[in-house]
């Protein structure tokens, strides 16, 4: 019996301890690295921090190594990344865009889709927080809501341009398991136009530093003009009058002007440019790195050019101009020399640089000749240099990237005038834009209406020494081809060439360099495979 009493006592003790321990079932809940959203009450001073993420997605979207810039340029006729003696093969990552052979899994397609929708989801969340007063605001609420809606429309503009029919999501508090439906390209277009138009009256009008890098009323008009400019591509129905009225609103406001030099909007400290309407701000310290920094210098310059600009690291030497594109320039067009790094390269002390790979020991001279996308020399091709390379560049650049600028407003208006039968009026605007680029030969700046009606001087056709392939296609047959050339010269290296080629009907029709047409459906990119896999409501674009 004694034993059982001890068993009983021991068990009572044990159960007692167990009860004490049950109170020790609290899960560790202290977080030292982030803020638990439910425990965070925003203050008025947090406003900029809370709104910021809606804009920062533009940085990755635009200048990531597989972002919009490369999607628009490498698929078109002006910029190429050929195989180099030091690499740039990467299993065809840079070759497929040029050959119009991208797949549903290519990084470009994923980066553009996910960073544009990242911006949209962030904007929806912030709009929800403002509208439901989670973010406290006493004044300026309507203006901020309008601004964010235009920002969201800017991401949708990228999406309809690249992918066509895409899902429109404008809410944050969605039911669980919600899978968005695809809107047609027309519906998405209507949504964008309506969002911008409705926002216009509430938007702020300041064009100074307070609204720099953000959408004010003029940024919204410029975006609207861009959307109208491509309306025929997006919907089948042109809206040139829309382009004229939106661009005229900006011109008449008197808030913007052309900078004296065509390069001014692209200098390192370009935030004071009079020409920039909306820019994406980058910075070597605050907005840097592989994901969302601006690394054009590393992607384009030759390693030896480290000495030219005293760069903190050695560049990788990839991207260059397509030689046929360079051949279109007038020899007196000052943009040719200013925008493209060419000829003998020098260190910052003026010593000539030497080749280090296939041309080791020979002078490093960038020539306007690239054998093929499959093979090239270290000296092949003029390098991208429109954005100023300052002395002492770091791994990322501090130049902001202008997305919408006054020169573009003038040229959009000119194109609409040209296409509505007013070539002479158009020519006046084009001449105005050209004047600053022909300072030594001012007479050459003048363009006439009839010249704008001519074809392109671009000598289209395959030029591939490696595969010994040549075709003669020319550009005479391109309607308003001369105007397309003007766009090429004024807006080279601005991440838009594909859009222009599509509007002028040649993106999937002409050959250049190693590229040959590979199907009309290539004017749209495929919806990323991963999105198709996860959202059964999505239908892949035709041809993919």
């Amino acid at each position: 019996m004694k034993n059982y009493r001890i068993i009983f006592k021991s068990f009572t003790l044990f159960v007692g301890i167990m009860f004490l321990l049950v109170s020790c079932t609290k899960l560790e809940d202290e977080n030292f690295g982030d803020i638990i959203a439910s425990e965070f009450t925003p203050e008025k001073s947090d406003l900029a921090s809370l709104v910021g993420p809606a804009y920062t997605n533009w940085r990755t979207l635009m200048m990531n190594e597989t972002g919009l810039f490369y999607l628009q340029e490498l698929t078109a006729d002006a910029v190429v990344i050929p195989a180099r003696p030091n690499g740039w093969v990467d299993d065809g990552l840079y070759r497929r865009p040029h050959l119009h052979q991208w797949t549903t899994q290519d990084a470009y397609v994923n980066t553009v889709w996910s960073s544009a929708y990242g911006g949209i989801t962030n904007t929806n969340r912030i709009l929800y927080q403002i509208e439901s007063d989670i973010i406290p605001m006493e004044e300026g609420k309507e203006a901020l809501i309008a601004e964010l809606k235009v920002l969201r429309a800017s991401y949708y503009y990228v999406l309809i341009d690249a992918f066509g029919s895409v899902p429109i999501v404008e809410q944050f508090d969605l039911p669980e398991g919600f899978l968005p439906e695809q809107s047609s390209r027309q519906e998405a277009y209507d949504f964008i136009v309506q969002e911008i138009t409705e926002a216009l009256p509430d938007l702020r009008e300041e064009s100074d530093l307070t609204m720099y890098g953000r959408f004010n009323k003029w940024g919204a008009y410029a975006l609207l003009a861009k959307v109208y400019l491509n309306a025929e591509v997006y919907t089948g129905e042109a809206n040139w009058d829309g382009v004229i009225s939106a661009t005229s609103a900006i011109i008449e406001s008197g808030n913007y002007a052309l900078d004296p030099n065509p390069e001014d909007p692209f200098i390192t400290e370009n935030q004071n440019s009079e020409e920039i309407i909306f820019a994406i701000p980058y910075d070597e310290n605050y907005a840097e790195g592989y994901d969302d920094g601006f690394m054009m210098h590393l992607i384009s310059l030759h390693p030896a050019n480290q000495a030219t600009f005293n760069i903190a690291t050695s560049p990788w030497g990839g991207s260059a101009a397509v030689p046929q594109f360079i051949d279109t320039y007038d020899e007196d067009d000052e943009r040719l020399a200013k925008d493209w790094l060419q000829g003998q390269q020098y260190s910052s002390n003026g010593e000539p640089l030497m080749g280090t790979m296939d041309m080791e020991g020979e002078p490093l001279v960038f020539v306007n000749d690239i054998p093929s996308i499959y093979s090239s020399s270290e000296a092949s091709g003029y390098r991208l240099a429109k954005y100023e390379y300052k002395q002492g560049l770091q791994e990322s650049m501090s130049n902001d990237v202008p997305l919408l600028r006054y020169s573009d407003v003038l040229m959009m208006k000119a194109e609409a005038l040209l296409r509505t039968g007013n070539p002479d009026e158009a020519a006046l605007l084009v001449t105005h834009v050209r004047e600053r680029s022909f300072t030594d030969n001012p007479e050459k700046a003048t363009v006439t209406g009839s010249e704008l009606l001519e074809g392109s001087t671009y000598d289209y056709g395959v030029r591939d020494e490696f595969n010994d392939m040549y075709t003669q296609e020319g550009g005479d047959d391109i309607q308003f081809g001369r105007f397309l050339d003007e766009l090429g010269w004024e807006f080279s290296q601005e991440g838009r060439r594909r859009q222009d080629l599509i509007r002028f009907g040649i993106f999937t029709e002409k050959s250049w360099f190693s590229h040959q047409p590979n199907g009309e459906f290539r004017s749209l990119f495929p919806i990323p495979q991963q999105e198709l896999n996860t959202n059964p409501n999505l239908v892949q674009n035709r041809g993919y």
Partner: protein, 718 residues
């Protein structure tokens, strides 16, 4: 070959880069153990020291360890104490990144000298990922010191004969401090115009465990049973900080005077710090019963919660298990089979749980990650860190197995056989999710269901057992089949039943496909079957059509399963021989039926890339027909069968027996070799490549090479 017109620049020297960076390392290890005490109080103490050299220059490790365990019994053995203390310290002095140095040694042009005529290092700062490996070793310095202390104590109380109450606490502290510096002559400084670089990093972590159990054992006639109940609590934390700086006035400081780097003043030095904590709470019980050691039963239950699930709807998981056994040889009808020592049939079913690595995945969090330009200033932007998943729960592994243990002829032959089916439900993984509506396109969730089925057998035999000669041999064989059963749950649907993962090194497209109904580990890509006269690949599409290089579009639909990176069969064979005072052991193992992507060939076997070193085979005809002329690309040509049979360890020893020396009871000398010899058709260095994760079977181009080790040792007993 340069003379034969290979477009490769001759720089006059002849350098064997691998030979330059490696050495024949020499290591020594010493261990000491003491035991002592009596029935009431006893102790064991061990101490060890080792000094190891790595195969690469300047890679050394010094290790020290010590352990003391003390047991004490009191009150007629009703109370038993155990106290243990352990200390371990390893310091690695190897600053440079070994895989980077190895890559540079492989890819470096062998005609380049190590040094310039003036004695400085020969460098090519104009080529990226191309640094003199020898200079990297000599112009850097580093040390990484890890130490661990563990204190554990337990009290056992036996109030009556069959009851055992036990309390246990243990705490382990980890401490790490490391430093690294590069001199003014290091490539990163020559190229990036820096004057020296240094970094320091330290972290500390604590793991605490307490466990309380009560066990009651009872034997009534032939019935024997036991009941156990318990509670356990575990807690862990990690914290640390790091900093770096460059542009120092002198090389002399190494990483010991961080403040004097000018990068700090220029705003370019980095610093960071972090801390995280977690805990795990468990209640558990177990019941066992057996009748006459003939019929055996065990049932157990665990109920656990982890802080990793904080904010999720169900942080608790319940994990039952049952097993039964039947010792057939104890049945009456088996009495005549007296050569059988043991024959036991058993079956079991059990569930175990796995929690995710990271904490706070269940709650919405905001973090600072970017800066936003606002009115001329850069403001930190606050944004969601991940897609929160409030439905996160334990991943559950349900295992059913049936097995047979046997032993015959007084242990001369024995072994076991097992068949198992393991179903993993709610597989934790970063699954692709649609964006929109999600902010990010991956969410950590419990989605997949996976099944593993397999058979395992082990047989131990003593073919010869004599006074002078004995031979023990042990063979094992196993096979495993795995299949992804589903990629769906109530909240998550994949339209196409698959997703792609993994990369072959630098190559762009993804390497493996994870698909419902298929095995994990499928290499998925383009299949080449031939080469044209011009040296261009000829592909075969999944429908069997041959397509020349220029017409092959490289679409998703053109990809196919090329092989699988997980072996289907494994086997091993270990032998121990003893002849008089000599002993010899040989252990061997192999894996069969799997494919490896040889990324060294993929990278170095392409003649078009002339800036790096190449394999001689780059200039041999592909498919025996023509030399390749097209750029590097990942395809089936570089996928090889990985089947191998490896003779791993051979040890030969001689026992001196009683030595005649007064204080030494016995002594044994031995020589031993590891990774001795491999029989394989695989052309890479070692076919034993990564088998973990969803993208197995990739032989990493920069993997630290496997080494053959030869050991000579002495065991002494005092």
């Amino acid at each position: 070959m340069i003379g034969e017109g290979v477009p490769f620049s001759d720089r006059g020297a002849s350098t064997d880069w691998l030979d330059e960076i490696t050495r024949i390392p020499f290591s020594h290890v010493h261990n000491l153990a003491f035991r002592g005490g009596n029935a009431k109080t006893n102790y064991i103490a061990t101490a060890g020291y080792r000094s190891l050299e790595g195969i690469m220059l300047k890679s050394n490790q010094i290790g020290l360890n010590g352990r003391i365990d003390v047991n004490h019994n009191m009150f007629d053995d009703k109370l038993k104490f155990n106290v243990g203390i352990l200390y371990r310290k390893y310091s690695n002095s190897q600053g440079y990144d070994a895989s980077e140095v190895y890559q540079d040694a492989l890819s470096r042009n062998p005609t380049e000298p190590t040094k310039n005529p003036d004695g400085t290092w020969y460098e090519r700062p104009d080529i990226i990922y191309y640094e003199n490996p020898l200079a990297q070793i000599h112009e850097s310095e580093g040390e990484n010191v890890n130490s661990t202390t563990r204190l554990n104590a337990s009290v056992s109380y036996f109030p009556i004969e069959d009851l055992h109450i036990k309390g246990l606490v243990s705490q382990e502290n980890h401490y790490n401090i490391s430093g690294y510096s590069e001199t003014f002559n290091h490539i990163s400084n020559i190229r990036d115009n820096r004057r020296g670089y240094a970094t320091r990093n330290t972290s500390t972590g604590t793991d605490f465990l307490t466990e309380l159990t009560a066990t009651y054992d009872k034997k009534i006639n032939l019935h024997k049973f036991s009941v156990l109940g318990g509670y356990s609590y575990q807690e862990g934390s990690t914290e640390g900080f790091l900093m770096d700086n460059y542009d120092f006035p002198t090389d002399v400081f190494s990483y010991h005077n961080m403040a004097w780097g000018d990068a700090l003043n220029a705003g370019r030095a980095n610093m960071s710090s972090y801390k995280s904590t977690w805990n795990l709470i468990g209640f558990f019980s177990r019941v066992t019963y057996n009748y006459d050691n003939k019929y055996l039963f065990m049932g157990s239950f665990r109920h656990e919660a982890s802080s990793k699930f904080l904010g999720a709807e169900e942080p608790w998981g319940s994990f039952p298990a049952v097993s039964v056994g039947w010792r057939i040889n104890r049945e009456q009808f088996m009495e005549d089979f007296n050569f059988i020592d043991d024959l036991k049939l058993r079956a079991g079913y059990g569930v175990t749980g796995t929690a995710p690595e990271a904490s706070f995945l269940g709650v919405a969090r905001l973090g600072f990650s970017d800066y936003f330009f606002q009115n001329g200033e850069w403001v930190p932007a606050l944004q969601p860190v991940s897609n929160p998943n409030p439905y996160l729960r334990w991943e559950e592994k349900h295992e059913t197995n049936i097995g047979l243990d046997f032993s015959f002829l007084n242990g001369r032959m024995g072994g076991s056989m097992d068949y198992y089916v393991r179903r993993t439900n709610g597989l934790l993984y970063d699954y692709p999710v649609p964006s929109p509506p999600n902010l990010y396109d991956i969410t950590t969730a419990n989605v997949g269901k996976m099944e593993n089925k397999g058979f395992e057998a082990i047989v131990n035999v003593i073919p010869v057992q004599g006074e002078d000669f004995q031979w023990n041999t042990s063979m094992n064989f196993s096979t495993n089949q795995n299949k992804l059963v589903s990629l769906q749950n109530e909240l998550y649907t994949l339209t196409n039943n698959f997703f792609d993962v993994g990369h072959y090194d630098d190559a762009g497209l993804q390497s493996h496909r994870v698909q419902v109904g298929e095995s994990i580990g499928n290499h998925f890509g383009f299949k080449v079957v031939d080469v044209s006269e011009e040296g261009e690949w000829i592909y075969e599409t999944p429908s069997g059509e041959r397509v020349p290089y220029d017409e092959f579009e490289r679409r998703e639909e053109d990809k196919q399963i090329l092989g699988n990176g997980l072996p289907t069969y494994f086997a091993g064979w270990n032998n121990n021989f003893r002849y008089k005072n000599w002993d010899l052991s040989i252990s061997m193992r192999g894996a069969f039926d799997f494919q490896i992507m040889n990324t060294q060939r993929l990278f170095y076997e392409n003649p078009t890339l002339t800036i790096f070193n190449q394999l001689e085979s780059a200039h041999e005809p592909v498919f025996g027909k023509a030399k390749l002329t097209v750029p590097q690309e990942a395809n089936s040509y570089y996928l090889e069968d990985g089947d191998y049979w490896k003779i791993d360890n051979i040890t030969l020893g001689y026992n001196l027996g009683t030595t005649g020396i007064k204080y030494i009871k016995s002594a044994r000398v031995y020589v031993s070799s590891l990774n001795t010899f491999t029989i394989t058709g695989y052309s890479g260095i070692d076919p034993e490549v990564n088998r973990i994760g969803l993208a197995p079977g990739i032989d990493d181009r920069n993997k630290y090479p496997s080494t053959r080790t030869l050991t000579i040792g002495v065991n002494l007993k005092f």
